[in-house]
Structure formats: structure tokens, C-alpha cells
């Protein structure tokens, strides 16, 4: 396949990044697929429409017709929000995403597109990134959105006292440089190729430059650049958004969105959808999909995301300080059985690495082998000939299948003489102990890249490093992986990091469950997003 590389246009109208050439070569020789190609060139500041045109694909423009009905009703937990950079629940971000916008956007196909930043240009060594902001964007309070707002946000993420997870995910940023009113540069201490993609993490919305001066409580002072404005916010009950006049982009397709919090029981949500009381559900769990499939006038949306559960151990606590104990748990675990019995086989088998085959930097390691005899041997070596008693804490934060998974592990481990007691606590309570409990089952939502998960969850000292895993060799391998543009070369670096992590036997990561949600047949333009980041201005009602 010959490609006309002159069709490629950089977003800023300047020169193409030198690495783009090599990527086109790989594409021509069929070494990487279209998706990997589009994703990678999009990070490097190439306009995605020009790249799709070069590949001979038709770019599908989002429909802009305004639907007939004008009020959409969405079932979603309405949680307390104060500072969006501190949120730990994706649900909360789906509320403020209606008002607050990001520098970049990662769409449902994992391709990074311009948003508040209209272009970005990485230096050849990937250590300096120049961004240009979209002109003509106004805050809902009338102020002009410009580089001062970005400076305020980036500096507060990186503040040493920041409690935000952004402090870790952007630890590579050394300096923020203001170029002019609409241009800035980020200087990095090490090369990072996926920076534009990371700017769409749910904790990175652009807040107004006076957010802190004006109280630092977003629902009380909901200033934003987005297509909707917040009208009413009642924690635990409801939230109401209305289409905002003067929005810079295409106007939202509905006039109002009502979010209703129907409590934690998804069966109740399905009942509301069946009765036509709501239009969109945030999530449907494995327990309800048979029911949803049978409902008339309802569509089930399915996607395979890189979401998972990890049953992780903290090496700082006895008996997990002994590598052999952790290895014994992994050897006894039967990942296939967990997927089959707890999730009815609807997903992809995990390999105890926390990198998913759908992630472009996934590298396959030899699949883990279940070996109960080895588990017993390891226990004896570790000084537990009579077996071992453990307590696994979990909160069913995503539904009952978490507990079902833990019960299968409990059975698996019992065969090896490891007696696991399950400590099931309410979901909200779990999130207050998730990084403290020595042995816990934690749900991890989808991230576009394996390196992003590793950076958040396993880098030494990361805020979300729940197992307190610390290994300089692993950190090094991760840094190397973050610096590589070539998707194949990056997978090779990742293979090293994956192996280092798995050898330390920090967690059992049994499978990658599919994701389900349901909408009424009247809903148009709603797509399942692997991260559950929904852009509601594109959704309408027919």
C-alpha cells in the first residue's frame, strides 16, 4: 500500500514531527494497524481528518441536527463535588463535563483530538510541547479563556501540596512557559509521547483562573466554558443542566439534561428505563443484561474496555512481605474460572499484568499457569505448613460480580490451604480504605494506555499506588516505555515492565470484563466510551 504522505497536515500548519515519516513507513508495510497509526500521529500533532483522508477512510462528521424532544434524563450517581481536580469518581466527572472542558479530547475510538487546544507540536526529543489554544472561547461569566487559565490549572496540579492525582500523572512536567495569550509550552524532565492523551484524564478539566479565589467549590460557583450551564445541584438526588447560549462550538442537541440519582441498585435503574421514566443509564451490570436484552424499546450498548479488578496485596504488611506468600496466592488463582463463573465469560482473560490486549502498548507475556502444588510448596517454604488465613476486603463498588470473583478466588485458594475470609463493606466505605487495607479488591477503570495505568498505580510514591509497590527497576522500564513513539518498540519496553511487576506478584488480575449500558431507543448519538467519559452535547432525542 502506497500512501501519499503529503496529504498529512499538522494541526498548527507548521512542519510535521520527524517521527511521523517512520510511522507512515510502518503503516505502508502493514506493521501497525490503522488505529495504532491514527492514535500515534494524533499525539504528534497531526490533524486526524487529514490522516484519515490519507488512509482513504471517510471522516464521519458528527451530526448537528437538534432533536425533537429537548429534555434528556440520565441515571447517574450525583456525588458531592468540590474541586474537580480532586474527584475520584468518574460519575462526578460526567456531571461537570457538561460545563467544563479539557485541552484535548480522546474519543470512543481512543484517538486524541483538539478541544480547547487547537494544536500541539512536540519537539523532536518529546521534551518540549507547544500548545495553541482555540481563540474566541468565553467562560460562562463573560471572561475570555486564555493561557492564564491554563497556567493556573497546570501550576495547581503540580503544586507540591496538591492532593490531586494529576501531580503524579504529570510529574514529568518541569516547567510551564507562557508564550503569548494563546500559546504555552510544557517542558518535561523526560520524554513522554502520550501527553495530549493524558490531558483528557477526568481530573484535568480547565477551571477558571479565579476558581480558588472564588471559593474553590465548583457546584456553588459553576463557571465553565462548556455547552451547558449548571442550574441545580442536589447531592444524592439530582442535577440539572441547561444549554448555554454563546458556546463556542456547535450547540448541544438537547435543551436540558436531568441527572437523577436512583441509588446504588441497578435493577431499579432498569425498571425506570423500562417504564420510560429515564432515557440513558450510566451502567448496567452483568446481573441485569438478560433482563435488558428482553426489554422492548431499549438498546443494550456493549464495549470491551481495559477495565478490571485487581486483588492486590501490600508487601509492607505481614504476611505479604514474603514474596513466596504472594506467589502462592497467584499460583492458586484460576483466572479462567473467575471469568467464567463470576462474569459468565463475557470478557477477556487477564494475565496478572494489568495491561489489556485492547491497549496499544500491550505486550503478551506467557500466560500464567495455575499450579496448586507449587502454591502449597511455596507456603511451606514461607513457613506456613498448616496453611494461611487471609482477609480480603472488598466493596462491590461496581456490582455484585466483584464479590463473586472474590468467592471464586476464595475457592481456588482453599485448595492450596490458603483460607481467605471475605470482608464485604459498603461501596462508599471501601473508597475510604482502598489504599490502606493490606489485601483488597479494587476496580480500575479503563485507561487508553497501559503506561498510564502503570504511572498511576505502580510507580513509586504515586498518589494512587494502592499496594505501595516500589521498585526502581520498574520505574526505569516505565520511563523508557513512556518515551517511545513507535508502538511496536513501546510494546517491547512494556514487556520488561510487565514482567518485573508480575514477578513481584503484587496482585491477581483475573480478567477484563465487558462494559454494558442501556439507553432508550429514542436516544441518538450516544456511544459507549471505554472510559465512560460522555460528551452529552452530541446526544439527542428522536
Amino acid at each position: 500500500m502506497r500512501l501519499n504522505r503529503r496529504m498529512l497536515r499538522p494541526l498548527d500548519g507548521g512542519r510535521l514531527h520527524p517521527a511521523v515519516d517512520a510511522l507512515v513507513d510502518q503503516m505502508e508495510q502493514g506493521e501497525i494497524d490503522r488505529r495504532a497509526f491514527l492514535r500515534t500521529v494524533s499525539w504528534l500533532g497531526v490533524s486526524v481528518p487529514s490522516a484519515t483522508a490519507m488512509l482513504g477512510l471517510s471522516a464521519c462528521a458528527p451530526a448537528t441536527t437538534v432533536g425533537a424532544k429537548d429534555r434528556l434524563r440520565f441515571v447517574c450517581a450525583v456525588q458531592q463535588i468540590t474541586d474537580p481536580a480532586l474527584t475520584t469518581w468518574v460519575e462526578a466527572s460526567n456531571l461537570y463535563r457538561n460545563c467544563l472542558e479539557y485541552l484535548t479530547e480522546v474519543d470512543a475510538d481512543n484517538i486524541t483530538r483538539p478541544y480547547l487546544a487547537e494544536s500541539w507540536t512536540p519537539s523532536e526529543d518529546l521534551r518540549t510541547w507547544r500548545f495553541r489554544l482555540r481563540p474566541g472561547v468565553r467562560w460562562s461569566n463573560g471572561d475570555v479563556f486564555n493561557v492564564d487559565d491554563v497556567a493556573f490549572n497546570v501550576r495547581r496540579w503540580l503544586d507540591p501540596n496538591s492532593q490531586s492525582v494529576n501531580r503524579t500523572s504529570f510529574a514529568a512536567i518541569r516547567d510551564f512557559e507562557r508564550l503569548d495569550d494563546y500559546g504555552f509550552a510544557l517542558h518535561l524532565s523526560r520524554p513522554v509521547c502520550s501527553l495530549p492523551e493524558q490531558l483528557y484524564a477526568f481530573t484535568c478539566p480547565m477551571l477558571h483562573r479565579r476558581f480558588e479565589e472564588e471559593g474553590g467549590d465548583w457546584p456553588k460557583n459553576p463557571v465553565g466554558t462548556g455547552p451547558f450551564s449548571l442550574v441545580d445541584y442536589r447531592v444524592g438526588l439530582s442535577a440539572k443542566f441547561r444549554r448555554r447560549d454563546g458556546y463556542w462550538g456547535p450547540p448541544a442537541r438537547v435543551q436540558e439534561i436531568d441527572y437523577v440519582d436512583l441509588g446504588p441498585d441497578v435493577a431499579t435503574h432498569v425498571a425506570a428505563l423500562a417504564a420510560g421514566q429515564v432515557d440513558v443509564l450510566y451502567r448496567v451490570t452483568i446481573a441485569e443484561i438478560d433482563l435488558v436484552r428482553r426489554l422492548p424499546h431499549v438498546r443494550l450498548l456493549t464495549s470491551q474496555a481495559a477495565q478490571t479488578v485487581v486483588m492486590r496485596m501490600q508487601p509492607a504488611h505481614k504476611p505479604f512481605d514474603d514474596l513466596r506468600v504472594r506467589q502462592a496466592v497467584l499460583a492458586a488463582a484460576d483466572n479462567a474460572a473467575m471469568l467464567r463463573f463470576a462474569y459468565r465469560g463475557l470478557g477477556v482473560l487477564g494475565e496478572n499484568t494489568h495491561v489489556a490486549p485492547v491497549q496499544p502498548d500491550y505486550a503478551a507475556l506467557p500466560p500464567p499457569q495455575r499450579d496448586v502444588a507449587r502454591a502449597r510448596r511455596l507456603l511451606i517454604e514461607a513457613g506456613y505448613p498448616e496453611g494461611l488465613d487471609l482477609t480480603l476486603t472488598l466493596g462491590n463498588t461496581q456490582g455484585r460480580w466483584e464479590q463473586d470473583t472474590a468467592q471464586v478466588l476464595q475457592q481456588n485458594c482453599a485448595e492450596a490451604g490458603i483460607r481467605i475470609k471475605l470482608n464485604v463493606i459498603p461501596p462508599a466505605e471501601y473508597w475510604s480504605v482502598w489504599d490502606k487495607t493490606p489485601f483488597g479488591l479494587t476496580y480500575w477503570s479503563h485507561r487508553p494506555l497501559g503506561v498510564m495505568v502503570y504511572d498511576l498505580a505502580y510507580r513509586t510514591g504515586s498518589v494512587w499506588n494502592e499496594s505501595k509497590f516500589a521498585d526502581p527497576a520498574f520505574d526505569q522500564a516505565l520511563d523508557a516505555a513512556l518515551a517511545v513513539i513507535d508502538p511496536r518498540a513501546r510494546a517491547l519496553e512494556m514487556k520488561r515492565a510487565e514482567a518485573l511487576l508480575r514477578d513481584q506478584a503484587i496482585f491477581v488480575q483475573p480478567y477484563w470484563p465487558q462494559k454494558f449500558t442501556a439507553v432508550s431507543e429514542h436516544v441518538i448519538g450516544h456511544r459507549a466510551h471505554p472510559s465512560d467519559y460522555f460528551r452529552m452535547d452530541r446526544v439527542g432525542l428522536a
Binding site: 458531592q80 444524592g236 439530582s238 441498585d265 433482563l291 475510604s432
Partner: protein, 323 residues
């Protein structure tokens, strides 16, 4: 009565406020430091002697200073009032269905003990009460929401209170408690119908209608009234299952959320409101019983002497003695 309330309030206080470190963690959040917690505890007088703290706590409750909810970030009193009103509404509608239905069925069954009608009512009552609410809720919603599509699946009262949204929650509550009250009424009615004065009236040629409504009913209502009044606190807290299932924005869901999110001041307020509801409904039940049976009032005034012979007359030893 006041003693009950004092005892329960002390219990609530001790359970939830004895561990001051826990209170501080719940209020300030898991990310707070030990220093912050200590300063907060000092500032809010948590290191004062226990009796003083308890006294202050009770005073705060009585004067309506119920504190700030940690989960909702709102004044607890302002949170509880609309929820209480919503639950009151649900309870009122439920009682309007339950009470006439239960009393009617109970009286019909109890009038002729052992008749086919009596047997039918009893079987129906036992079957319906034996289903727990969560099961009834699932069955009813499977039939009327998913299968027939006649009724709304959740009752959020988002567009104001509509009759349709009350049908399912009320039906679930009615199914689980009507049978119980009906059986109490039936037993009480059957006993009243076996009394000598009913036989006398019957021999004198009074109509059944007159016997039931003029003589037996009033005497038979004592026990059912007590049971109905006991249902009020049950409805207030026991509807949690129903309210959560139908996402009804009432006191039950509030209590549930408070417990799930360990929202300490909200739990305290809800517990105290629950206690007040129990005590108040018992007072009301005593008053109604006194009105139904003036002998109780007289007994309270002059001691039990007046009422005693009426009971003793039927005692077997007196019968033997020739009375």
C-alpha cells in the same frame, strides 16, 4: 416515656460519639492529618467530660441544631424535614389503604368464626404477610413494570407527587401489613362475638348488623388500634426496603444513605427522629384506646378495682362457687 427517650438518646450518643477520633475522621475526611483532627476536636469541645458533652448534645438536638451532614454538605434539619414529609405522605396513603381494608376484612372474618369467608381471609392474610417486602417489590415490579408496562418503575416524585407513582410502593406496604392487622382484628372480633352480652343481644332478637356495629366492634378495636399504631414507626424505618427499591426520596432512603456513607450527624438525627416517632405513636395509641374503652381511664383514675369483677366473673372457680 421521657425515660425511654432519654435512655435511647444516651445510647445513640454513646454508640456514635464515644470514639471522638472516629467522629473527626468522618467529618474531616480520610485525607485529614492527625493534627487537623486534634485541632478540630479541641475546637468543638470533644475533650470535655462526657456528661457535659451529652448535655450539650441533647440541648443542640432540642433546639434544632443538628449539625452539618458530611455526605450531603447540607444542614441536617433541612435535609430531614422534606424527607420526613415525603415519608409521611407515603405512610398516610399506605395507612388509608391498609386500615379500612384490614379492619373490614378482619371484622367480616371474625363475625362468623369458622365460616368459609373467615377461612378465606385467614389464608390470604397468611400468604401475603409471609412474603417479605423485597420479594413482593420484585414480583410486583416484574408484573406491572416489566411485563405489562402499566406503572412507573421508580417513584422519585421528580415531577411532583402523582398517584401512579404511589401505586407500587403502597401496594408492597399494604400486602405485607394488611394481613397481619386483619388477623389481629379477626381474633379480637371473634373474642368479642363470644362474649355474654352478644349472646344476650342475639337472644333479644337484635340484628347481626346492630350487634356488630352497636356492641362488638368498639370492644374489638382495642388490639387492632395498638397494632396499627405500632405500624407507624415500622412504616417510618421499615419502609427502607420499599423506598430504596423504588428510589423514593423519603426518610428511609436518607437513613440508608446516611448509614452507607457513615454520615454521623445524619445518623444521629435520623435515630432520634425514629425514637420520637415510636414514642409519639404509642401515646396516640393509648389515647385512642382510652377513648374506645372508658374503663381504662377509670382504672387509671381509681385503681383497677372497678374493672376487676368483669374479668373475674368468667373465672372458672367462681363458676364452681355457683355464680
Amino acid at each position: 416515656m421521657a425515660l425511654t427517650m432519654a435512655a435511647v438518646s444516651l445510647l445513640v450518643f454513646l454508640v456514635l460519639e464515644l470514639n471522638v477520633e472516629g467522629v473527626a475522621t468522618k467529618v474531616l475526611g480520610q485525607f485529614s492529618t492527625a493534627g487537623q483532627r486534634h485541632a478540630w476536636l479541641l475546637q468543638h469541645g470533644y475533650f470535655d467530660p462526657l456528661p457535659l458533652r451529652y448535655g450539650r448534645w441533647v440541648l443542640d438536638f432540642v433546639t434544632g441544631r443538628w449539625g452539618l451532614s458530611t455526605y450531603y454538605h447540607a444542614d441536617v434539619l433541612q435535609l430531614v424535614t422534606p424527607r420526613l414529609a415525603a415519608s409521611g405522605l407515603l405512610m398516610g396513603v399506605a395507612l388509608l389503604v391498609i386500615v379500612p381494608l384490614a379492619l373490614g376484612l378482619g371484622v367480616l372474618a371474625g363475625m362468623r368464626e369458622g365460616s368459609p369467608l373467615d377461612r378465606g381471609v385467614s389464608v390470604l392474610a397468611i400468604v401475603t404477610t409471609s412474603f417479605p417486602e423485597f420479594a413482593t417489590a420484585v414480583f410486583l415490579s416484574a408484573i406491572f413494570v416489566f411485563w405489562l408496562g402499566w406503572l412507573p418503575g421508580v417513584s422519585t416524585l421528580a415531577g411532583g407527587a402523582t398517584l401512579k407513582e404511589f401505586v407500587l410502593p403502597v401496594a408492597v406496604l399494604a400486602l405485607s401489613s394488611t394481613g397481619y392487622i386483619a388477623r389481629m382484628t379477626r381474633a379480637s372480633m371473634a373474642e368479642a362475638m363470644g362474649q355474654p352480652y352478644v349472646r344476650t343481644a342475639l337472644l333479644k332478637g337484635a340484628s347481626l348488623r346492630r350487634i356488630v356495629f352497636g356492641h362488638a366492634l368498639r370492644n374489638a378495636l382495642g388490639a387492632p388500634v395498638t397494632v396499627i399504631m405500632l405500624q407507624i414507626p415500622w412504616l417510618l424505618s421499615g419502609v427502607i426496603v420499599v423506598e430504596v427499591f423504588f428510589a423514593y426520596p423519603g426518610f428511609g432512603t436518607l437513613l440508608y444513605q446516611a448509614a452507607v456513607n457513615s454520615d454521623v450527624y445524619l445518623i444521629e438525627a435520623c435515630a432520634m427522629v425514629g425514637v420520637i416517632a415510636v414514642v409519639a405513636s404509642q401515646v396516640l395509641s393509648d389515647l385512642i384506646n382510652a377513648w374506645l374503652d372508658p374503663r381504662l381511664l377509670a382504672a387509671a383514675r381509681h385503681g383497677p378495682v372497678v374493672a376487676a369483677p368483669a374479668v373475674d366473673l368468667s373465672a372458672p372457680e367462681r363458676r364452681v362457687a355457683g355464680l
